[in-house]
Symmetry: C2
Subunit: 150 residues, 2 copies
């Protein structure tokens, strides 16, 4: 896969494929598991640990996308194993934590949001990569849904 | 992955994940390579071989999604090898074929459309699978882009 393709984005302020992967890594490190543990170990009124959705933009990634994917893969496997241990301990899925913006959120909502968050950003990667072909597809562009989403 | 999750769709007339995979298989068999060959071997004014985008809905798939994925994987590998042979023969990428709806289309446009077609439907599978979590994510729904696309 060409470097140039991986560096495409959807315009100013949007992320390229590698930036999305760096965001996934940040979220694995500082968002999902820390918040799950915050609910299970403490719960309300303890506020969730902070997570900066833009932290991965603060320093430009100089590694290759393969290296980023390798880190993601390793931290993800680790987190799945941590999550399995937590689930096996039969936590109360209705237990709540305090989200800085939403207020009270349930453990089961947090777990569902993790899944759909990842789906959202996988779709974003595919959309950004499709963008590179916008004019190349000629008359097909009108029928290729991915080119017609904002 | 639960069978029920794979059977979710986005409402009447929409496809579930397995139906999209069956459509991919039909397109690998009857759309992309036959049309590439139609341009390379004949070209205009020869009309493209017909492709029915809904053929996979005509008989309900009774196989498992794993079996469908296995067929897709095998036919896809085959088609990639066929395509490599065609590309290695240095075809004229500007050569045209006759699309039943668009009229004259170039070989390079057809090849680009193949890529973006697959991206469109991969995104569709992810979107359909996210749908199952629409209410489960609670207050996150407003921020999860994949739940806010039509």
């Amino acid at each position: 896969m060409s470097e140039a393709w991986l560096q495409c984005n959807e315009g100013e302020g949007t992320w390229n494929a590698q930036e999305v992967i760096e965001h996934f890594i940040e979220a694995e490190k500082h968002n999902w598991i820390p918040r799950v543990e915050s609910i299970v170990l403490e719960g309300e009124p303890q506020l969730f640990p902070a997570f900066d959705r833009f932290s991965h933009l603060k320093q430009i990634s100089e590694r290759s996308v393969e290296e980023a994917l390798q880190e993601f893969s390793s931290i993800r496997l680790n987190n799945i194993s941590t999550l399995k241990d937590i689930i096996n301990s039969n936590p109360d899925l209705e237990k709540t934590g305090l989200h800085p913006e939403f207020g009270s959120v349930k453990l089961r909502e947090l777990l569902s949001a993790w899944v759909v968050h990842d789906f959202t950003h996988i779709t974003q990667i595919i959309r950004v990569m499709a963008e590179r072909y916008r004019t190349d597809v000629g008359p097909w562009s009108a029928y290729l849904g991915i080119l017609n989403r904002s």
